[in-house]
């Protein structure tokens, strides 16, 4: 069994993240929702419709970007958009998509000659060409360079700004933190948590660290402050590990004691930490 007791609902107009390690069942879950796979049990409704029974109606209102798919190398960008637009009863104007997704100067380029980022933008444009109410984007930025990833993120935010609901399957924590209104973390076919990214981070309450170098004054009893787990000292270099809002308590204490520090750094708690805490395994 790939999925067991998975239940979630996506609100209209939000970006919903589905996170999890490879083999967690996230792609299977999304394929069932997209109607590409028939579930053995349970019930799924997308825009009030059954993905299998009402396939035809639903396909008109959803757009899908699939992981690991290509187009024919000799297909030109405009031909792909024009062709896919012809599949839908009420498509968008693909010329506008071309412009919006920065593919105008690649209009006559063949798919085989496009860069990874350009291909990805074309795929997103193809997912949007039917003027969908919901789009599913699977492993959108895998294999892209950091700059192309950032650019893609801002485009995803644009999609939401037009009122389209986005379901984002990802195994990048930073992507989910940046984009998603809410996210579900999958592990071994189950949803282990479902909340806003900051909610997930807070809920897990993983340990994190603050570091600084002592310049003047004596370090008082920081170890006894609420939330502090341990203090390690190496000469003037101090690392305080704790949970919750301990960093505020520590900085307040330092100020009261007139202790001067430099190079103060507080590690942000991230979804990565939450993920490790939830699934007991590091990501990837």
């Amino acid at each position: 069994m790939v999925l067991d007791g998975v239940s979630f609902s996506v609100e209209e107009g939000e970006i919903f993240g589905i996170l999890g390690p490879n083999g967690a069942g996230k792609t299977t879950a999304v394929e069932c929702v997209e109607g590409l796979r028939r579930p053995d049990g349970g019930s799924i409704r997308v825009l009030g419709l059954d993905p299998i029974e009402n396939r035809g109606t639903l396909c008109e209102q959803t757009g899908v970007q699939l992981q690991d798919t290509q187009l024919p190398d000799n297909l030109k960008v405009w031909e792909a958009l024009d062709l896919y637009a012809s599949f839908y009863a009420k498509p968008c104007d693909w010329r506008e998509l071309l412009q919006q997704w920065g593919l105008e100067d690649k209009r006559d380029a063949r798919f085989g000659k496009l860069s990874g980022g350009q291909r990805q933008r074309l795929f997103i444009a193809l997912a949007l060409v039917g003027d969908p109410r919901v789009v599913f984007l699977d492993e959108l930025t895998t294999g892209l360079d950091p700059q192309a990833r950032r650019a893609t993120w801002s485009l995803i935010k644009q999609i939401r700004a037009t009122g389209v609901t986005v379901v984002l399957v990802s195994h990048y924590m930073d992507e989910v933190e940046e984009l998603c209104d809410r996210a579900a973390i999958f592990d071994q076919g189950r949803i282990v948590t479902l909340d806003t990214p900051s909610g997930i981070v807070a809920e897990i309450d993983a340990e994190y660290e603050m570091r600084f170098t002592l310049i003047a004054g004596d370090l008082a009893d920081v170890a006894g402050l609420p939330g502090v787990v341990r203090v390690t000292r190496n000469g003037d270099y101090i690392v305080v590990t704790g949970r919750g809002d301990f960093a505020t308590a520590v900085t307040a204490q330092l100020a009261r004691d007139h202790v001067l520090v430099s190079d103060l750094r507080i590690d942000r708690r991230t979804l990565d930490d939450a993920f490790i805490a939830l699934t007991g395994q590091p990501f990837d």
Binding site: L36, L66, D68, T69, Q70
Partner: protein
């Protein structure tokens, strides 16, 4: 559907493999045609069989398996248009390509090479369609079983040479071992070449051979449909 057909025609025209399947039989016809005696009944049926064999065993399976491998069928299945439409368009398109090649070969043989042409146009058409049906069925089965375009291509090559040999396309059947020539007559490509040859010698093609071709076309396509994987 119209736009899909237009795009697929463009893609086919941009595919060097498609041009080769058109040029190879033409080249063979012209290369050997100049040194062959008038009234020859062997060369043109051979060239026609090569043309049909190349499309059926190379072009069709490689194209379809590549479409599956690249996730093009899968991507289409997320749109309102079923990917079966794409397969249908491809099969029709390649059928048109085969018919065009066949017509071109016959026209060139009739004009440039002054070859004798049979007058039974209806019978030629029926035989050509049955032969193409049988070879396309083999191609569809390859496409159904091969995981990737590369595998499909390899399987096509692997099948083409023994089939072409048995069909008497490598050497005339009267120079082949008798048993092999006899067996070859009942292979899809062999039955096709033999019935074409019969038409060229002004006899009616043997109903048994035509039935064999029809049986191959139906049985092998059924197997292809049964085993075809969309992903």
């Amino acid at each position: 559907m119209g736009k899909l057909a237009v795009v697929e025609v463009k893609l086919l025209a941009r595919e060097p493999g498609a041009i080769f399947t058109l040029l190879i039989p033409l080249f063979i016809l012209l290369a050997f045609g100049s040194s062959i005696e008038p009234g020859d009944t062997v060369l043109l049926p051979m060239a026609l069989a090569i043309a049909v064999g190349l499309v059926g065993l190379y072009l069709l399976p490689t194209t379809l398996a590549t479409y599956r491998e690249r996730g093009i069928l899968r991507r289409m299945s997320t749109t309102p248009v079923r990917p079966a439409n794409l397969l249908a368009v491809q099969v029709i398109l390649q059928l048109v390509l085969t018919l065009t090649t066949g017509a071109l070969l016959i026209a060139i043989a009739g004009t440039v090479l002054n070859a004798d042409l049979p007058t039974a146009v209806g019978q030629i058409a029926v035989t050509f369609l049955l032969g193409t049906g049988a070879m396309f069925a083999v191609g569809l089965l390859i496409a159904a079983l091969a995981r990737s375009g590369r595998t499909a291509n390899g399987l096509g090559v692997l099948l083409y040479f023994p089939m072409a040999y048995l069909a008497g396309l490598m050497q005339p059947t009267d120079q082949m071992p008798k048993l092999l020539a006899r067996v070859g007559e009942y292979t899809p490509l062999g039955a096709f070449r033999q019935s074409m040859h019969q038409l060229w010698t002004d006899t009616t093609p043997s109903p048994v051979l035509l039935a064999v071709l029809a049986a191959y076309a139906v049985a092998i396509s059924a197997a292809a449909a049964r085993f075809f994987r969309w992903e």
